[in-house]
Symmetry: C2
Subunit: 225 residues, 2 copies
């Protein structure tokens, strides 16, 4: 009975890792579509977002069934609740990928331009945070989850630099405003991905340590609200 | 014993409604700060965001305790899970209010201008969605929750109109770009509030109907992804 229960918990974790990998890939693909202006990649992202949504529902249902039928105690209960919360954030990472390809499609109406910003770098940072937050979940490693919190500050700083760089482009070359505005929305979508990774890391810490770090000072740099 | 349990569920609901009211008020105040350029309102929003975060943690802990100690079945289990999910979205509505006042503070550096957009109207729509989604939760009314889903399409349309109106401002009056860009970020924050209200409404439907409407076609207008 307990053996079967622990097998179910492993299945749940396995499925969550699959959907998280798909969400991370969707972000990488969306930014690849931005870089190459390749609309066929946008269609791929649309399809994977649908698959992510389907998996999100399956995971929620599995978690609910486990809670209802097994009535788990203490650490297992916290684990299942962590899965439910992480699952919601993973699904919204997929939504952010779709927000990005909407702007990529919009950009097709305008000539390609070189903007003084680095979207692929931001995407790598944000996707790296998603990957690391999930890795901290697999390894039940609160210290690793904590390092994700400090990476979020880097993304926020990069996002602010990007904002002012694009503001300057729009002021000085107003004819590039449509492209700059799309890039700005993409940058903010990536910041949002980083926020979801941060939420995931906080849920991992909550699960592992049994203490709630959300909205507390980070032990890493003291700068979080 | 069951009586005490149901009293605890009522307390949980009560607390969630309080924090939701605070989050809705934070949005209204943030937009009032935008309208009046009154920085003292921004400080109020900062303070209520901190209070919202504190309450979010308390609600999560109460829900976890109820799950651990009472091992509720079926409908009560779904209710508690709905509270946990709604709680997370309510807290992020508070974050959106803070995103708005960050732009209000940035705007102090520039002269006030009249832009061809209607931020207060968008805010009323988005805050109305939050209110209605919570009301559908109080009344366990899936039809009311469904009406929130169709309101989200109105906000998305308004957000798109706002985007192109501001794009035009930036192209034709580049000197107004800083103000237009701040307004654009505020509009997108309000769209995000509407998304959170939509998530809440979906959780209410999941709880009430025991079926999962997320990512399904809406029965209202068929336009949701």
């Amino acid at each position: 009975m307990r053996l079967r229960f622990h097998k179910s918990l492993d299945d749940l974790k396995e499925k969550l890792l699959i959907v998280a990998g798909m969400a991370e890939q969707a972000i990488q693909r969306a930014v690849e579509a931005y870089r190459t202006r390749d609309l066929s990649i946008c269609d791929l992202v649309d399809r994977s977002e649908m698959a992510i949504n389907r998996l999100e529902r399956e995971i929620d249902q599995m978690a609910l069934d486990l809670l209802a039928m097994e009535q788990p105690m203490a650490i297992d209960l916290r684990f299942i609740l962590a899965v439910i919360k992480i699952n919601a954030d993973v699904e919204r990472v997929g939504d952010s990928a779709v927000n990005i390809i909407e702007r990529v499609r919009d950009l097709q109406a305008y000539p390609a331009v070189d903007l003084p910003i680095d979207i692929p770098r931001m995407a790598n940072l944000a996707a790296g945070m998603v990957r690391k937050s999930l890795q901290s979940f697999i390894e039940a490693d609160a210290a690793m989850a904590n390092s994700v919190l400090s990476m979020d500050d880097d993304v926020d700083k990069l996002n602010e630099t990007t904002y002012y760089a694009l503001l300057n482009v729009m002021k000085e070359q107003p004819q590039l405003t449509p492209q700059a505005l799309d890039a700005l929305v993409i940058a903010r979508s990536l910041e949002r991905v980083a926020d979801h990774a941060t939420n995931i890391a906080e849920d991992v810490i909550f699960w592992v340590q049994g203490s709630d770090v959300r909205h507390h000072m980070s032990v890493v740099d003291g700068s979080r609200r």
